[in-house]
């Protein structure tokens, strides 16, 4: 509860005032980034011996949710760092990699998860990035990753490349590549509809030389790690979408109580009340799906179906509720004077990244085969 309180207070006090500016300028202020690190929001599950907070998965979700309630763009930065980056290192890093990178990830280094490419999004394992084994045991990496979040700020890139295309996806290997590696460059930021403050850029790898000790886990196991991590990441996106939904309602409901038409606040009309009640019920469902998936994960039980449901449903709810909020606000809902339109735009990404809604439905349907 205290973790939640801290995240809430920080987000409301420090992030809220600069949300619109950061959206306009398409950037996350370095001063805010520094504060995120200082407050421990970037290393929630990293053990204290690596300078992390030493808290659990649920705590990460609460942090993401409270930040998303104010700014989903900042939330995705914290979500990726906590649920994808920190987790993969904790789980598959060797001691040397952990003691080198984890303290940095907890204290000052943003990292990016580099999987997607121009020809491989949902079909992630069709990636073409090549990690050619060299005679001296090193690898030479070539390829371009696209849609990489946080890449403008990242000091570390977790790159999935194939060491042996003849083995298909079983050649996919995970590499730890620091930003200053010769041959690695970050391309131009995408100009986006939503989560504009979060940098989304191509990452070019041109003959980047990588040594064997930069391999995370085992050669050819990258695809497995990916599946596992994105599964957990899904619950994180669920939390982000829940936060977004709460945030857009926070920004809308007080207006409904103030705005008068036909001699009364529009909140008093039964039509509005019914719609809001419906929205709140959907939000509650999204919360329960997400928190339940988290609970299953924490108890070590399988949660693939539940996390797919959580991500799918939470993003649908976020989109629906944000759209409704604009309608309830009327004309002012579409002006940039109010933050509601930003939440509406930001919600769209929920059904796209970390596995599109269609992919989530595929995953859920697979479980139905056992019926």
């Amino acid at each position: 509860r205290r973790v939640h309180g801290a995240a809430e207070k920080f987000s409301q006090d420090q992030i809220k005032p600069i949300v619109r500016e950061m959206d306009n300028k398409q950037t996350i202020y370095p001063s805010l980034l520094k504060q995120l690190f200082e407050n421990g929001f970037m290393g929630v599950e990293i053990p204290t011996k690596y300078d992390g907070v030493g808290a659990n998965f649920f705590s990460s979700l609460l942090v993401v949710e409270e930040i998303a309630r104010v700014d989903p763009s900042v939330a995705i930065l914290t979500d990726i760092q906590n649920t994808l980056i920190n987790t993969i290192l904790l789980r598959y890093g060797n001691e040397q990699q952990k003691s080198f990178w984890l303290p940095k990830l907890a204290c000052d280094t943003v990292a990016s998860f580099c999987l997607s490419e121009s020809a491989s999004g949902s079909d992630a394992f069709a990636l073409k990035c090549h990690a050619k084994p060299q005679k001296d045991g090193t690898y030479l990496l070539n390829g371009t990753k696209l849609w990489i979040s946080n890449s403008e700020q990242a000091g570390l890139f977790i790159v999935f490349a194939n060491t042996d295309f003849s083995r298909g996806y079983k050649g996919i290997t995970c590499f730890l590549i620091p930003r200053d590696s010769p041959g690695l460059s970050v391309g131009k930021k995408e100009d986006k509809l939503c989560i504009r403050a979060s940098s989304t850029c191509p990452v070019h790898l041109e003959n980047v030389q990588v040594s064997a000790d930069q391999i995370l886990g085992e050669v050819g196991q990258g695809y497995r790690y990916c599946i596992e991590l994105l599964n957990e990441g899904r619950v994180g996106i669920g939390a982000q979408m829940i936060g977004l939904t709460r945030g857009v309602l926070d920004a809308t409901i007080p207006y409904l109580k103030e705005r008068k038409q036909f001699g009364q606040p529009i909140w008093e009309f039964q039509g509005i009340q019914h719609q809001v009640a419906d929205a709140m019920t959907r939000l509650e469902c999204a919360k329960l799906l997400t928190y339940n998936a988290a609970r299953l994960r924490e108890s070590g039980a399988p949660f693939v179906k539940e996390s797919a449901m959580a991500k799918y449903y939470s993003s649908e709810v976020a989109n629906h509720v944000a759209g409704k909020c604009i309608e309830w606000m009327g004309g002012v809902g579409i002006t940039t004077d109010y933050i509601v339109e930003k939440f509406f735009r930001d919600a769209k990404i929920g059904s796209i990244y970390e596995g599109t809604s269609n992919i989530q439905l595929n995953t859920i349907a697979k479980y139905l085969n056992k019926w």
Partner: protein, 259 residues
Amino acid sequence: MAAAGMKIMVGCKRVIDYAVKVRVRPDKTGVVTEGVKHSMNPFDEIAVEEAVRLREKKLAGELIAVSCGPKECGETLRTALAMGFDRAIHVEINDPKVYETLSPLHVSKIFAKLVEKEKPGLVILGKQAIDDDCNQTGQMLAGLLRWPQATFTSKLSVNGDSADITREVDGGLETIKVSLPAVVTADLRLNEPRYATLPNIMKAKKKPMDKVNPTELGVDLSPRVEILKVEEPPVREAGVKVDNVDELINRLKNEACVI
């Protein structure tokens, strides 16, 4: 008294959060507290911050946070611990009737007993609580202890066995010097409290929190005040325009009775 080892005791009251819209209970006996967000009294947060800063300047040793009330006060104390305090004392008051009529005189007597036991060199309290706005506990405590008091403090510097203090008073700023030990009450501009970072919140879980029963301290908590009625302030009425100055003076004198 060696400043480096000086113990500081700070009071942390759990109050309804400042951002909450307070509602009166239908039975008009008080305000709704069930399910309402509570947090540490903002002036007490400032007091906590000041103590932590003194320790960072190496002018203080052990920092002890105290709160009086039901078990939820433990949360308030954990916040103080997360901001950098070493130890907490929770004076448990579980009977809601007793808690409702708990007043500055009771609290200052409790604090006086704790001060006797802990022997701090400085006690910092918030100038007032945002729920009752009494602005009495600090002053009463100083009286009970026969210690100097510096209230509405906006600047504090400790120099050996005395402190230089700037107070915010109606006429402006007053600078005084008090000898320690003393009671200081914190005003708004004394400092800006830090955020309890997640790592510190986790560390705070392990810090010691002692529970004390007020009867052990020999303090009588019987109510000295009876609450008759609690009601909302009158609905603000629209203003009235007057035609000329004479009418204004007439109405101010005869209707509003303010001149």
